[in-house]
């Protein structure tokens, strides 16, 4: 009974983190290097889920993706399928709520790379893309990895928006945080305790890992 939510959480968080890392890096790069109108507006939009109550973010997700949502309804009419109350909904909620941490970390990390190195790479004949992968990314990797770990933990702990969009269906959408909530209100103290300890352990490990990264334990 403990394994079900643990397995589901691992699935949701793994998928979410992979997508967050990719999207966050792309948007972080866009915000760090791009010079376009509405750039800071876009940055603010990405930051929004950090400051909004998760239930509010969840509410907007229902408005968008629910069976009668702006995007959800046409999809349901076309395919008879709705993302609401599926494990994919938990993934979407985790992505939306944790992506800001990745975007902000990636942007800061990329901006912190001395542009002299990138210019030196251009003078040595390397394209913009080659320079990004050979110079910028390796030099920014600590901050980027820290962003991945932070968004991983944020996704792991996601509760409010997940509850709203995915519901709390044991074995289907009931992730660890939801299972703890359920265990507490139904008086299963032992179960709540074990689940809470597991989540605490993972989070502590993640914070330790991040502080090692940002403190510069990696030599060069």
């Amino acid at each position: 009974m403990i394994w079900e939510p643990l397995k589901l959480s691992l699935l949701v968080v793994t998928v979410a983190t992979l997508i967050i890392a990719t999207l966050g890096l792309a948007f972080g790069l866009l915000l760090a290097k791009g010079r376009f109108h509405g750039q800071e507006l876009l940055a603010a939009f990405f930051t929004l889920p950090l400051v909004l109550p998760p239930t509010v973010s969840g509410y907007y997700l229902i408005v968008l993706l629910g069976r009668h949502g702006l995007i959800g309804e046409p999809i349901y009419n076309l395919t008879g399928w709705s993302v609401a109350f599926t494990w994919q909904a938990a993934v979407i909620a985790a992505i939306v709520l944790a992506l800001p941490l990745m975007v902000l970390s990636a942007r800061a990390a990329i901006e912190s790379v001395n542009s002299q190195f990138e210019i030196a790479s251009y003078t040595l004949g390397k394209s913009w893309l080659a320079t990004f992968f050979l110079i910028t990314l390796p030099l920014a990797r600590r901050g980027i990895l820290a962003g991945v770990v932070l968004s991983f933990t944020r996704a792991l702990g996601e509760f409010g928006a997940t509850f709203m969009l995915a519901g709390n269906i044991p074995g289907k959408t009931q992730t660890m945080p939801l299972a703890i909530y359920e265990a507490v209100i139904s008086g299963e103290d032992k179960r709540a305790q074990v689940l809470a300890l597991i989540l605490t352990g993972v989070s502590v490990a993640a914070v330790y890992f991040t502080s090692k990264l940002t403190k510069g334990a990696i030599k060069y």
């Binding site: 001395n114 190195f117 210019i119 251009y122 003078t123 040595l124 394209s127 390796p138 060069y220």
Partner: protein, 236 residues
């Protein structure tokens, strides 16, 4: 090569000033000499394609890098400019040999790999021992030599050096000056060398271009240029 650049520059103190210079340079070392703020580094950056002049023309051998009349403007990558930065800008996550190999073309003469050729290049500068070393574990002189080796390894059409010896001690500087001269003699391409140190300019320069507040004040051989400069100062 021929350089002709006009560019309006915003500066923090005196509002703005205009860089407006023209000079020719041949196979040899051309010194851009002047105080900080005279436009030396901006000139290098314009030749390399890092900044775009408002108008002018930059031509190396028969290749046009920039021409405001025809709209020609070659990208940084295609200019084949070896740039030695003031703080060297060696890639901190790469070893000496990786830095030198970075700009090399894949297939070299005789089928030697890029790293093999990079080692040979380091040997030319007498610093084979830094091949496995990261830049922060190198001395100032070793970093400077690695930076020069990296610039030359990419088979450049010309080399730009931005006060490359300002961060090393006097003794090392003296030895590095000879090495720069020797390197130029080996590759026989134009070197443009920025400095505000007269002794360096005299020992290195085939010709000196004296810049003052964005314009060329004098061009000529080092001995002649500096004699008149000194005379003028004494008269003032």
């Amino acid at each position: 090569m021929h350089v002709e650049i006009k560019k309006r520059l915003a500066s923090d103190k005196s509002g703005s000033f205009t860089l407006d210079i023209a000079f020719d340079a041949g196979d040899g070392i051309t010194i851009l000499f002047g105080q900080s703020g005279s436009g030396k580094t901006t000139t290098l950056r314009a030749i390399a394609g890092i900044v775009t002049p408002d108008s002018g023309r930059i031509k190396i051998a028969d290749e046009i890098y920039f021409d405001s009349v025809t709209g020609a403007n070659l990208s940084i990558q295609r200019r084949r400019v070896g740039y030695v930065f003031q703080d060297y800008a060696l890639f901190p996550h790469m070893t000496g040999e990786q830095n030198v190999a970075y700009g090399m073309k894949e297939n070299g003469a005789g089928g030697a790999s890029r790293l093999e050729r990079a080692r040979a290049m380091l040997a030319v500068f007498g610093i084979e021992h830094v091949r496995q070393r990261y830049p922060q574990n190198m001395s100032g002189g070793e970093q400077q030599r690695t930076a020069l080796a990296r610039a030359l390894a990419a088979d450049p059409a010309l080399v730009l050096l931005d006060e490359p010896l300002s961060a090393v001690d006097a003794e090392t500087r003296s030895r590095l000056i000879d090495e720069v001269v020797m390197a130029q003699k080996r590759v026989r391409i134009p070197f443009i060398y920025v400095t505000h140190n007269m002794a360096e300019a005299i020992r290195l320069g085939t010709q000196v271009v004296v810049l003052h507040e964005g314009s060329v004040k004098k061009i000529g051989q080092p001995s002649g240029v500096f004699h008149t400069l000194v005379d003028e100062r004494q008269q003032e």
